[in-house]
């Protein structure tokens, strides 16, 4: 790492420190959520793209979405239930746990890790279908985040992969976000140096993009 980069890194760190100070005037977010009465709960289920790999939780999209909702007067809480590295099989295994959070809406973003490991898209599709089925059984509204696979995996694979999301949305009558990383993927300025995970700015775009779909899913004041 070069000197100047370290310098930039320190500046970034300092910047975050100030953000942190600002926030610390009010109690920790966890406590706020427990104490203030909320109208409803959105659970963001997903992988590292939901968890906000490498970032503070406040910078990941669920926290930004909650902030946006609250600013607009919606007293909803958005729980970040993202797990880095999780495949759709993992997501399926923990549906029961997700239900314990008593969600009204679930934003389901999964499958990217299946794709990166070359898992047969039909496996991913079956898993997501099962997750959706269980959630719907419990009267949870599902917003499905569409995902695309990196083109280097091969066209045959990527087209099969991308197709599963609209197919599922149609089959189960879900609200579909066409592509979760729309406008963010591939932009070096909006992603971390690994070229995969968004930075805070990238998540701002994602939160803005998701916002109308969440309203469509029935967020009420």
């Amino acid at each position: 790492m070069t000197k100047s980069f370290q310098y930039v890194a320190v500046l970034v760190a300092l910047g975050c420190l100030f953000c942190g100070c600002e926030k610390q005037t009010s109690p920790a977010p966890v406590a706020t959520q427990e104490q203030t009465p909320v109208t409803g709960t959105i659970v963001a289920v997903g992988d590292s793209l939901t968890a906000g790999y490498g970032l503070n939780e406040a910078d990941a999209y669920p926290a930004q979405l909650e902030k946006k909702l609250r600013a607009a007067g919606y007293r909803w809480r958005v729980v970040n239930a993202g797990i880095s590295g999780e495949t759709s099989s993992g997501a399926l295994s923990r549906v029961a746990w997700v239900l314990r959070l008593k969600p009204d809406i679930v934003i389901l973003e999964t499958g990217a890790n299946d794709g990166l490991r070359g898992i047969d898209p039909q496996v991913t599709k079956k898993n997501i279908a099962e997750i959706v089925r269980i959630l719907k059984e419990q009267q949870v509204t599902v917003v499905l985040a569409g995902m695309r696979m990196v083109t280097s995996m091969g066209r045959e694979y990527t087209s099969a992969f991308a197709a599963i999301y609209p197919e599922l949305a149609k089959q189960y009558d879900l609200i579909l976000i066409p592509f979760f990383l729309q406008g963010v993927a591939g932009d070096p300025g909006l992603n971390q140096s690994d070229g995969l995970h968004p930075v805070a700015g990238g998540y701002r775009i994602i939160a803005d993009m998701i916002y109308p779909y969440v309203l469509q899913a029935g967020v009420k004041k």
């Binding site: 790999y53 880095s84 495949t87 299946d114 083109t151």
Partner: protein, 831 residues
């Protein structure tokens, strides 16, 4: 000048001491010469290896296409003929067999002609890589053929094109040990890159440009220039020298340790030289006194004994050089497989010169004092009046200072660090001081003893008989045994950390992402008895209520609290774990959630028993108190967990299972195919090659370390021999008196044995205490590896050295006992 006949006669008269002296000198020369040539070979081959590991002088890499600025900078330098480049694209892609439609995730590497600039890609056919990898062909790993049921000549659909499998890759230079490849390697020629249609917008590719600099002196300059054009934080510019590698750190440790052994061996050999010469001179005290009485001047005596020392030193050095040459024939055998075959382990002229000069310096430094002190010997010593000579005078301090300075220069020269040199010298001073204190303490303790047993009582008295060098013997033994014990302990610790962590039986197949519902079926299919570790993913959000700043944490280069952790639950320790704080894994009497923490976490944050860590497990905060801190002997490649919860606490949390097993190479492909068919979500990671390579290298290394440790052990044995021999004259006299007084030889033997038992046990025990402290310090601070006490080994070392001391002492006295006392008395009278 001096009398040659006298010289030879004297050497012949003290053949034991002379032999020890010669051996000590020879040993120091052998150590220096072989270590010197070994480190030179390792150093040069390491640099060469580093270049091979990167296949280039400079490597540019990025996760996105290179910026125009950097591309132009490279093109400009290429036009000026400063460098040659080869582009490399690495990415995963799903490839398909043409006929049976089976597909497989593979690790593609598209390379331009010229790759690799250093090292070579080894193919099964033995052909040259560049001639095989033409447009339209691919070279694959055997694994791919097994998994897809293909053969050479079959066709493979990759991206939008179809390529033919031409050969099998066995090794590639810049992928020495790729820990977590998700699929087998496929080499594709850059000419086919466009036809693949896999690299472009929306693809995930590791882009690199390998650079070979035409003027080898200019590597750093060129790298710096290119670095200026690179986008900071996104495009990396590294030379083969700057690129960090765990291998380098390991070799640094190894060379550091070997150099330390070498210098210590030198010190030990020096002590051996000094004590054998002192013994020699002591035996000749009367001769010297007579010479003085007959008018020989101090200067003559000084010159004469310097000649004796030089004579013996020369013989020793020559022996050492011959031994080094002989060793050189053995070394390639010892190092084969570790160093590239191209490295020639020959003794260079400089190594010989170095050995000669250092050998001479060691002889000079360690002989000057005993010889110089002959000046103080008065002719009246003829009458056998032993007198205590003054120890604390200027020459002693002067010599001690010179020896320390010599050591400092040696360390700085060999390890190239003044700080380490100062630490070393400080350590040696402390060692000698503490040894002195130990000797005083031991002698005080022994003096207090009044054993009933006559043999023991006589033995104790014997230790304090006039002229018996008990104090200096204890100091010498304690100090040198402490060094040897420390070296052995450090070697054991290095062995445990690096070598034994890669046993050939290490697991080679890892299964991740087994879902709870699949566990039973999976276990049935795998049919190998193994542990299924439950894994719950979670992150640490606060410690004692204070939030963890993830971004700040992640900026630390070392492991940190900012990442997500694999949590697990179980109620007992793993085989290789033990509790270091907190007593038990969990506490029944505590209410609320509990967690046990691995000691590694303490490096990221200072934590104590009773502290509260708040985790976030999929959106839910969960606070747990620390009940215990564990440590793990951490066999590499064996799973370990930072945070362990009690069984009931996490059982219901979302989890997956992980398993690691050992499977024979032949069975892997079919097993992998069965698992992927039945459990498509389970990812199998095959580490067979990695484990095999590591196990092989580590075993070699342990042989090398043991080999060089042997030198110091031999030095130690020589010291024991010489210091026991040093007390021989006094013993002979004593044995004679005992015999005259009617004692049987068994009594005399028992007394001598008991005397050596006291001497040996006391020195060895105090040496062990010093060694344990020393090895702990070296392991913790110099090598940064975990340190264990090795109780059994320690006990064995103490017992072995004590037995050795007794045995050497008895062997030296045996001839005395066989002789008739009258003979000795007559000889004494004649003198």
């Amino acid at each position: 000048m001096f009398n040659a006949r006298l010289l030879f006669r004297q050497i012949r008269g003290a053949v034991r001491q002379s032999t020890v002296f010669v051996l000590c000198v020879a040993l120091s020369v052998v150590t220096l010469v072989s270590l010197g040539s070994f480190s030179r070979s390792v150093h040069s081959s390491l640099l060469r290896d580093a270049r091979v590991l990167h296949a280039a002088d400079i490597i540019l890499s990025s996760h996105s296409p290179f910026s125009p600025a950097l591309t132009q900078a490279v093109a400009g330098a290429e036009q000026r003929h400063e460098l040659t480049t080869a582009r490399v694209y690495e990415f995963y892609s799903v490839v398909r067999a043409m006929d049976n439609k089976a597909s497989l995730l593979s690790d593609l590497k598209v390379v331009a002609p010229g790759y690799p600039f250093y090292g070579s890609v080894k193919l099964a056919s033995g052909r040259a890589f560049s001639t095989v990898l033409a447009a339209g062909s691919v070279i694959v790993e055997q694994q791919l053929l097994d998994r897809l049921h293909l053969r050479l000549g079959d066709r493979l659909r990759i991206g939008s094109t179809v390529l033919t499998i031409r050969d099998i890759v066995e090794a590639e230079p810049d992928r020495p040990v790729n820990l977590f490849a998700l699929g087998p390697r496929i080499f594709v020629a850059a000419a086919d890159l466009a036809a693949l249609k896999l690299v472009g917008t929306g693809s995930r590719v590791n882009y690199s440009i390998l650079v070979k600099v035409n003027d080898q002196q200019g590597i750093d300059r060129v790298a710096k220039e290119l670095g200026r054009s690179a986008v900071k934080g996104r495009e990396r510019v590294e030379t083969y020298r700057t690129a960090s590698s765990g291998v380098k750190r390991f070799f640094d440790n190894l060379l550091f340790f070997l150099n330390l052994i070498g210098i210590f061996t030198l010190l030990l050999a020096g002590i051996g030289i000094q004590s054998s010469l002192a013994a020699l001179l002591q035996e000749q005290e009367r001769t010297i006194a007579i010479m003085k009485a007959l008018g020989a001047g101090s200067r003559f005596i000084f010159r004469h004994y310097i000649a004796v020392a030089l004579m013996l030193g020369l013989v020793g050095t020559l022996c050492g050089l011959v031994a080094s040459f002989l060793l050189q024939m053995l070394l390639p055998e010892l190092f084969s497989g570790l160093l590239p075959d191209s490295v020639e382990l020959t003794i260079s002229g400089s190594a010989v010169a170095e050995g000669l000069i250092l050998g001479f310096m060691v002889v000079f430094l360690f002989t000057i004092l005993p010889i110089y002190r002959l000046r103080e010997l008065k002719p009246r010593a003829i009458f056998g009046k032993d007198e205590q000579r003054l120890v604390r005078n200027r020459p002693v301090w002067f010599t001690a200072g010179a020896v320390l300075l010599f050591l400092l220069v040696m360390v700085v020269w060999r390890i190239r660090e003044v700080k380490t040199g100062l630490y070393f010298v400080f350590g040696v001073c402390t060692l000698i001081l503490v040894s002195l204190l130990c000797a005083e303490g031991i002698m005080w303790l022994l003096r207090q003893q009044q054993p009933r047993n006559l043999i023991l009582r006589q033995a104790l008295k014997g230790l304090f008989r006039p002229g018996n060098a008990t104090r200096s013997t204890i100091v010498t033994l304690t100090a040198s045994l402490a060094v040897i014990f420390s070296i052995t302990l450090v070697e054991k610790n290095l062995d445990t950390t690096f070598v034994q962590s890669y046993p050939p039986s290490s697991p080679n197949l890892y299964f991740i992402d087994i879902q709870p519902g699949q566990k039973a079926d999976f276990a049935r299919l795998l049919n190998i008895d193994t542990i299924y570790y439950p894994i719950v993913r979670g992150s640490v959000i606060a410690v004692n209520g204070v939030q963890v700043d993830r971004e700040k944490e992640r900026q630390k280069r070392s492991d940190n609290l900012g990442r997500e952790f694999n949590l697990t639950y179980r109620d007992q320790l793993l085989q290789d774990e033990r509790i270091v704080a907190g007593g038990a894994l969990f506490r029944k009497e505590w209410s609320g959630l509990q967690v046990s923490v691995l000691d590694t976490v303490l490096k990221m944050r200072d934590l104590h028993i009773g502290d509260t860590i708040t985790f976030r497990i999929q959106g839910l905060p969960l606070s747990a108190r620390i009940t215990s801190i564990r440590t793990s002997s951490r066999q590499a490649l064996q799973p370990y967990f930072y945070f362990v919860f009690p069984d009931q606490d996490l059982k219901d949390a979302p989890q997956t299972y992980f398993a690691a097993v050992r499977v024979d190479r032949q069975r892997i492909a079919s097993l992998q195919n069965r698992i992927v068919t039945r459990f498509p979500n389970v990812t199998v990671i095959n580490l067979t090659e990695t484990v095999a390579i590591f196990a092989r290298i580590m075993e070699k290394l342990s042989t090398i370390i043991r080999f060089f440790t042997l030198f110091s052990v031999i030095a130690g044995v020589l010291i024991v021999v010489s210091s026991v021999i040093a007390t021989r004259t006094a013993r002979i006299r004593e044995a004679v008196f005992y015999t005259i007084l009617g004692a049987r030889s068994r009594f005399v033997l028992a007394t001598f044995a008991a005397e050596n038992l006291f001497l040996g046990l006391a020195s060895a025990a105090s040496a062990l205490v010093l060694a344990q402290t020393g090895s702990w310090i070296i392991c913790r601070f110099a090598l940064e590896v975990p340190c264990q006490p090795f109780a059994a080994v320690s006990l064995a070392m103490v017992l072995t050295t004590t037995l050795l001391i007794i045995a050497v002492g008895l062997a030296a006295s045996l001839s005395v006992l066989r002789a008739k006392p009258a003979v000795f008395l007559r000889e004494q009278a004649e003198e």
